[in-house]
Symmetry: C2
Subunit: 331 residues, 2 copies
Amino acid sequence: MASDAEQKETYAATLKSIQEARERISGFAHVTPVFSSCCVNQIARANLYFKCELLQKSGAFKFRGACNAVLSLPKDIASRGVITHSSGNHAAALALAAKIQGIPAFVIMPKNAPKCKVENVKRYGGKIYFSEPTLESREEIAQDVQKQTGATLIHPYNDTRVISGQGTIALELLEQIPELDALIVPISGGGLISGITLAAKSVNSSIRIFAAEPKGADDAAQSKAVGKLLTNSHTDTIADGLRASLGSLTWPVVRDMVDSVVTVTDDEIVKSMRICYDILKIVVEPSGAAALAAALSAEFQSKLQEESLNHIGIVLSGGNVDLGVIGDYFN
Amino acid sequence: MASDAEQKETYAATLKSIQEARERISGFAHVTPVFSSCCVNQIARANLYFKCELLQKSGAFKFRGACNAVLSLPKDIASRGVITHSSGNHAAALALAAKIQGIPAFVIMPKNAPKCKVENVKRYGGKIYFSEPTLESREEIAQDVQKQTGATLIHPYNDTRVISGQGTIALELLEQIPELDALIVPISGGGLISGITLAAKSVNSSIRIFAAEPKGADDAAQSKAVGKLLTNSHTDTIADGLRASLGSLTWPVVRDMVDSVVTVTDDEIVKSMRICYDILKIVVEPSGAAALAAALSAEFQSKLQEESLNHIGIVLSGGNVDLGVIGDYFN
């Protein structure tokens, strides 16, 4: 086990870099509200506090990291633009951050990305290149475009600026609800949970952090189980935002500081989406509902009692979903 | 034209009764948030401020009036319970208000009420009696149950306590966004718009009030046109909460103080629901989206310019919608 000082150098972000990100994106990103509901608390047998990142600009938390990354670039480098490959929410967020700075954004998206996520990128003026739905195809096209344009690659999660930006959620949430004793955060590439964990444990070292992961893309659960970074060989989940695998910068945080990974089925995700729509009256995408699904799972419900957890922060990460698809889920 | 003093006695509520209602329901009802969006403002060519009554307890503004009515009852009368006939949102709101006070609520609902609205009444412990989908059938059954139980009838809108409760929305909204120069409010039986109009024009006499009404249930537009209270002989709209006709207490306010009624088609309502889901990320029912539909209509867009209106309050009245139906609307 490394000492505290060594650990801090090891990880991709620090409380300081996250505080600086907060300062940087202030006035650009929303301080999102926290919702709660007696009805949902009854179902969950705990007090849940929903951090509504679906109400963030661009409809997802991704704007925080993208905005911090864009605003961190020196002017001459920024002017050549930014580029990314993403299933969608990071792409739209980066396009919006670039638009605000008046620089171009080049986006490589898989052909099968949800229509609304493609529309979001277009809405913010991003230039789209479609790839095959594999990481290899995306990265190859990204490299080509980068060579042509000189744009800076902003990775969706394996980037310290992005991780620091996402961590600002925890600083806000722990000010909004200081009594939280646990957080549940969806996990995919790990940028969101890394930033949040580094920030939250710096502010409150005893806070417990749980990752919510689809069973059909459970690289984090598998990696934690064997103590070694594994990647998804294939994925099968409706949570299109949670299909990525952990990266070299995010895995160490998940390995050392995330307390546990709770896996959830697509059925559990749909059930949680229904609660968000029916009771909270907010639009969440499947990935966005994963943390609530984890909170309601038998696995977490037994942890609640064992560990006497009462006040749980739930990160509802985004709300970009094709409306036509919603009816199919709920019928 | 009656003098100011005479007028104040004529109308169903006063600034004082609305302020008292606010005091009474404080701590029971939510002070709902106001949302805004640059993207929506671009579409609407004005600054829109969305008063999110879908986030009110029971999922609609109706809780304000129901709660004020229940809390206004003397204890011995309250103990026998309350009764109403309603298309749903008032019913659920009354059931919740009664539950909070520990008294029974008896609810007569039309057989064809949306499933989620029936579920909402059940969730709050209301006792349901189903009627034919006509006002006559509802009122007949209500009278029978009232005779048996001694419960107090709380009309969905033709009730001064209810109207005063709904008016609290305007007091909140004009404090939240003092620069508003117009409000758009959905109209059905008129309880919501009467309360809001009486409150808003007391606080700011120059504020303009527009009613949003479905073309398929346009008794208010027809009544305003001829200066005489007319009722809908039949209705044809997806906005199930806007099918009622104005009442004796609400018509005078609409006649004298509502500036104009803007009618909207079901297609316009669906388009506005889509904007709420896609951009604002909130769940609205068809009735709840009517005011935004009015704001985007050609009729209102020309008024915007003629009258130099810049800051428009939009009352999103409720969010109780069957999720299975949403997909049908949006496909």
